[in-house]
């Protein structure tokens, strides 16, 4: 059967990236040239990261990321571009996520709550067979 392709995120094209000059451009000029990043580092002066990936969905298999491009722009303390690196899908590590969740004491609706809540509202489908 036919796979469905989908792309997510955004990575600036090579022509845009070529306009950036290491050691000269600052955060603002980078922002104007190639737009703001899809995500950034933890600290205020962390790096800027542009992530673009292409996914393939085939039948009942889990959607698979077939290609990913990460453009990492790191800045020095002065906010001047220090380095522009590219990462691919192969650089990523397959990480087992930990299942634990911080308890958020939001109680969802319970089965009994929903069962009793729907007393009285009726839909015709039950009567007419």
């Amino acid at each position: 059967c036919q796979p469905i392709y989908r792309s997510h995120g955004y990575v600036p094209s090579d022509s845009d990236l070529a306009m950036l000059v290491v050691g000269q451009d600052t955060r603002d000029t980078v922002g104007d040239f190639i737009g703001r990043p899809s995500s950034a580092g933890v600290l205020e002066d962390g790096g800027w990261y542009y992530v673009g990936s292409r996914w393939r969905e085939l039948g009942l298999r889990k959607p698979q990321e077939i290609s990913r491009e990460v453009v990492a722009i790191s800045f020095n303390e002065g906010g001047v571009v220090q380095n522009i690196e590219r990462f691919g899908l192969e650089d990523g590590r397959v990480v087992t996520l930990s299942r634990r969740v911080t308890d958020s004491n939001i109680k969802g609706v319970t089965f009994l709550g929903q069962l009793l809540g729907s007393i009285g509202n009726v839909n015709a489908g039950q009567f007419l067979n």
Partner: protein, 748 residues
Amino acid sequence: QTYSFSDVQIEGNSRIDGGTILSYAGIARGEAVSAGALNDAYQRILASGQFETVELVPTGGTLVIRVTEYPTVNVVDFEGNARIKDEQLSSVVQTTARRVFSPQQVEADAAAIASAYAGGGRVAARVEPKVIRRDADTVDVVFEISEGRLSEIERLSFTGNRAFSDRRLREVLDTKQAGLLRIFVGSDTYAPDRIEADKVLLTDFYRSRGYVDFQVLGVASEFSRERDAFFLTYNVQEGQSFKFGQIRTVSEVEGLSPAEFERAVRVRSGATYSPNAVDNTISRMEAVATEKGLSFVRIEPRVTRNDRTRTLDIDFVVANGPRVFVERIDIEGNATTLDKVVRRQFKSVEGDPFNPREIREGASRIRALGFFSQAEVDTRPGSAQDRVIVDVNVTEQPTGSLSFGISYGVDTGVGLALSFSEENFLGRGQFFSATLNTTDSTGSSSITFVEPAFLDRDLAARFSAFYRISENDNSDYSMRLAGIEPSLEFPIAPNTRLNLGFKIGQEELYDIEQLNSSAILVAEEGKQDSFGLSYALSYDNRRTGLNLNGGVRLRFGQELYGLAGDVEALKTTAVATAETKVFNEEWTVRAEIEGGAYTALGGTQSRVTDRFFGSEMRGFESRGIGPRDLDVENEDPLGGNYYAVARFEAEFPLGIPEEYGITGGLFLDVGTVWGLDNTNGGLASGCVDLNGDGDCQVDDEAILRSAVGFSVFWTTPIGPLRFNFSRALAKEDYDLEQNFDLTVSTRF
């Protein structure tokens, strides 16, 4: 000059205490206060809206604040209102009991009541507010209303229309001329806001017929002295009708050829210009762009007019749109529904390029969930100008139903029904239902559970188990069926889904009335286990297809029995349905062809529990058609290995205002059931030829039956009902007709 007060004295206040007035004034003791500050304090006290008059009199070291309070409203009453009830009026009026009385507010309320009446077509209504002083500080407010008669539109005429007659244009408008049934028809009353809506209808009517320069110059309305009859005249300027000139598709995006977009154009040069055709083409081109994974692409129609040839040349330009990203998707109002159930309806992810079409499709998928009475999806600017935040505001509606009571099936009679079904089980979007229905001749219980996003993929896992008994339901034998049917369904291509599953079941045919039942049935008595694998391909482009108000739905499924159990057979079913809207989208026309074949394998023969009865054919009872053994007393229906039904129907408004939710429909069903493995009927004890055809063979030929009828659709709070009145055209004398049926009209 400035003052400084060591003491403040407040006079005249009885209800509001001094502390409150002081906090309004905002002057502290002993503080230096200029004249300007004094005036501000005065303004603030007045602005609190509690006092009729306020005076600030500085006398030496003390500031005297003399106030007279507004009285409070004790009771608000309405007299003389017959058409609009008190509750509706009190919602319109701001003045309420226990609140401060203010004369301006009462005047505003009187005007609000008058405009409420004008909106309902009673322009002649008069409202007089009366204030009755009970004692020093409380008043009663009474609104005396004289409604006057309903002002109806006697005549509706047009000037300046050359291309279309007054009568044709009157059909276009919502507002109707008062005719014979003026008391019942509401749309002939004069309502100012309806005039605006009619102008839009008139403009759309002309624009979609090529009159690009059409304008409504003005609407003159005079009314008779008693203000109950109106004469409306629409003054229009038609201009010329334009045709499509040269149509071109141009791409301004480098490296993108317009060829693919060219195929999506549905506008032919020479045809009459219509804005819908242009919009339709644009959304088709957008669909092509999304399929090719292009982001930030926009389709711009550039129109060039040449008046001499009265044609419009249109260039569909594929251009680079602005670079905008989705910053956040915020979902609010989901009280019980989990966030992921709504969020997974969007294919776009936070941080993706903003694709308005994708967000619109996500919004329609959220509405299609059926969990929300209202689902508003709109975007607002984000933290930067190239960022957008998608706001999803939903209001939940009850999705569960629990009922124990009486059920009525037209042909199964009255029965006990106990059922619980929940479409949004525990807010996870899962479907769960457990039902138990018993009538005098049938009994069925079933449990169904569906997880639409199994393992967080677009993969619907379904598990259903059923147990059904039918004792002599329109026949002289009984059947007991039980089965478990788990299945998985997932998309294999855009608009196409594949369903894989298996069925474990047991069918039993028992207490066949030996004396006058057909030998065929007697031979089939007994219990059989079945184990089968099933697959079904379904294609459905109604919502996402390129033709926006129609679509095609195909379904082809096969079940292979025989890997285990006693049944060895291949059962094939197929349905093809096409639907479209005609007569500017008021009529829905639908054609459907359905068929099935049950071929027993390995030398076995089909049994009545497996065969088809064509129960979906309207005009006949559930086992009404198909081969029968006419050489026995019971003339039991035997069903057939094959069936084919064609249905043609149209649904159209009956002119009754929308709010009643009643529309009408016509239908024609043609179909037949045929084919038996064993056709030698007659009594088990030997052939006694009753129908005089010389032998005991059962006629299992494909004899065409047809029925025609009309139906009434009524959307009620408990669900969309459909009343079918039908009459058979071609039928066998032994078929069982059914002229009336009441079903839930499923919107496919």
